[in-house]
C-alpha cells in the first residue's frame, strides 16, 4: 500500500516539472524564429500541460477537500513548487530552449516507458500515452540539436553556449530522495538506473550526430525538489497565476 503523502509528493514533482516547463515553452508562441516552430513549441507545451493536469487532478482526488487541478497550478506560492530548477530557467535563445527540451524528453521518454509497469494503474495508464508523445519530442528537439550542433559556426557556438548554461541543471532530474526511495520499493517508481542509462544513450548518440563533445553529468545546482527556486520563478508565477489570483474561480 503506497503512502498517500508520498504519492502526492511524486505527483506534484512530475506535475510541476511539466507545468512550469510547459509554461516556458508557451512563451514562444508568436515569437519563434519560424512559423513551423511557432506551432511546434506550443504543441509540445500542450502535451506537457496535459501531463501536469493529469498529475494535479489525481493529487486533488487523493487529497480531497474539494481541491481541483487549478488549486495546484494557480494558488500555490513559489516555495510550494517542486519542479527541477532547469524547468523555470528563462528560455534564452532558440538553441537553449530546444536543447533543454531535448534533455527533458530524453529523460521523460524512458521514465514513462518504465512507468507503464508501475503498480499505480493511473500513472501507468497515463504513461502509455506520454511515452509516445515524448518520443516525438525527442525526434523534434533532437533533430534541431543535430542541425544546430553540426550546422554553421554560429549555430554550433549557440549550441555550445546552451550546453554550458544547462549542464549544471541536468543532474537534478536524477536525484532520488527518501520519498522516491520508498516509492521505488513500493513499485510505483521504476528502478532509476536503466532510465538514466537510456537517457545517457540517447544523449550520447544524438551529440555524436551533432558533432558535439560527449556530455558528462556533473554535480550541479539543485533544491527545486524541496522548494528552493531561483528568482525567475516568482516572475513566471506572477504572469501565470495573475488572472486566478485577481479573480479567484474565474472561468473561461
Amino acid at each position: 500500500m503506497t503512502d498517500r503523502d508520498d504519492l502526492t509528493a511524486l505527483l506534484l514533482q512530475i506535475g510541476d516539472d511539466h507545468l512550469v516547463l510547459g509554461h516556458r515553452l508557451s512563451e514562444w508562441c508568436g515569437h519563434a524564429p519560424m512559423l513551423e516552430e511557432d506551432l511546434a513549441l506550443p504543441n509540445m507545451s500542450l502535451d506537457l500541460i496535459g501531463t501536469a493536469r493529469m498529475c494535479y487532478s489525481y493529487a486533488a482526488e487523493i487529497e480531497g477537500g474539494g481541491r481541483t487541478e487549478d488549486y495546484y497550478a494557480f494558488f500555490r506560492d513559489g516555495t510550494e513548487f517542486r519542479h527541477v530548477i532547469m524547468a523555470e530557467r528563462p528560455n534564452g535563445d532558440f538553441a537553449h530552449t530546444i536543447l533543454r527540451q531535448f534533455f527533458f524528453a530524453a529523460y521523460m521518454n524512458p521514465f514513462w516507458r518504465a512507468m507503464t509497469e508501475s503498480v499505480d494503474r493511473q500513472l501507468a495508464a497515463h504513461a502509455g500515452k506520454a511515452v509516445k508523445e515524448t518520443a516525438y519530442h525527442i525526434r523534434h528537439s533532437g533533430e534541431w540539436v543535430i542541425r544546430l550542433g553540426d550546422g554553421t559556426e554560429e549555430s554550433a557556438c549557440r549550441m555550445a553556449t546552451a550546453l554550458d548554461d544547462l549542464a549544471p541543471y541536468i543532474g537534478e532530474m536524477f536525484e532520488t530522495d527518501e520519498t522516491a526511495s520508498r516509492l521505488i520499493m513500493a513499485g510505483v517508481l521504476p528502478d532509476p538506473a536503466p532510465v538514466r542509462a537510456a537517457f545517457e544513450d540517447t544523449v550520447a548518440q544524438t551529440f555524436a550526430m551533432a558533432t558535439m563533445p560527449p556530455f558528462e553529468m556533473t554535480a550541479g545546482i539543485s533544491g527545486g525538489r524541496s522548494g528552493r527556486h531561483t528568482e525567475v520563478l516568482g516572475h513566471l508565477l506572477a504572469e501565470m497565476q495573475q488572472m486566478q489570483r485577481a479573480y479567484p474561480g474565474l472561468k473561461w
Binding site: L39, D47, A125, A135
Partner: protein, 152 residues
C-alpha cells in the same frame, strides 16, 4: 449508435466512432454509461467530445454518464477502415500502422502516401500542425501540400 455518430469537433469529417475512442457502452437500469478515451493527453477536444456525446445521447431520451478511461492508451491503429477512408477523402493522409513506426529509433520517419495521388514521394514540411494530431507534408509527385494524421 448515437454516441458513435457524434462528429469530432476539430476533425468534423470523422465521427468519434470512426476514431475508435468510444471504448464501451453499457446499458443498465440507471441509464447508459459510455467509456471514452482521450487521443492526446492535452487534446483540447477531449472535453468537447465528452459533452457532445452526452448531449446527443441525452437528446435521444436516455440517462447518460460519460466516463473518461485512460487505459489502454488510445492508438491510431483503432481508427476504423471507414474512418481512414473519410480522412483520405478530406485530403488528410491516414496514420501509418504502429508496426511501421516502432523500433526504428527516434529519428526515423514513416513512409507517408499522398492522399490525392497515392505517391509515397512525399516530404515532411513541419512535424506539428493545426491540431495536436497532425503534421504537414507535401507530395513531390502532384506537388500538393497535405496534412498527415500522425501515428500514435
Amino acid at each position: 449508435m448515437i454516441a458513435e455518430a457524434v462528429p469530432d469537433p476539430e476533425l468534423v469529417v470523422v465521427t468519434v466512432g470512426d476514431l475508435g475512442i468510444v471504448r464501451d457502452i453499457r446499458t443498465g437500469v440507471a441509464g447508459v454509461e459510455i467509456d471514452v478515451t482521450p487521443t492526446y493527453s492535452a487534446c483540447p477536444a477531449t472535453l468537447a467530445i465528452e459533452l457532445a456525446i452526452e448531449t446527443a445521447v441525452a437528446a435521444a431520451g436516455h440517462e447518460v454518464r460519460v466516463r473518461r478511461v485512460l487505459e489502454p492508451a488510445w492508438t491510431t491503429d483503432w481508427i476504423t477502415a471507414q474512418g481512414r477512408e473519410k480522412l483520405k477523402a478530406a485530403g488528410i493522409a491516414p496514420p501509418v500502422p504502429r508496426s511501421q513506426q516502432d523500433d526504428g529509433g527516434y529519428f526515423v520517419r514513416p513512409e507517408v502516401a499522398c492522399p490525392r495521388c497515392e505517391s509515397v514521394d512525399t516530404v515532411e514540411l513541419a512535424p506539428f500542425g493545426a491540431t495536436a494530431c497532425k503534421a504537414q507534408y507535401r507530395c513531390r509527385s502532384c506537388h500538393e501540400p497535405f496534412d498527415y494524421f500522425k501515428c500514435l
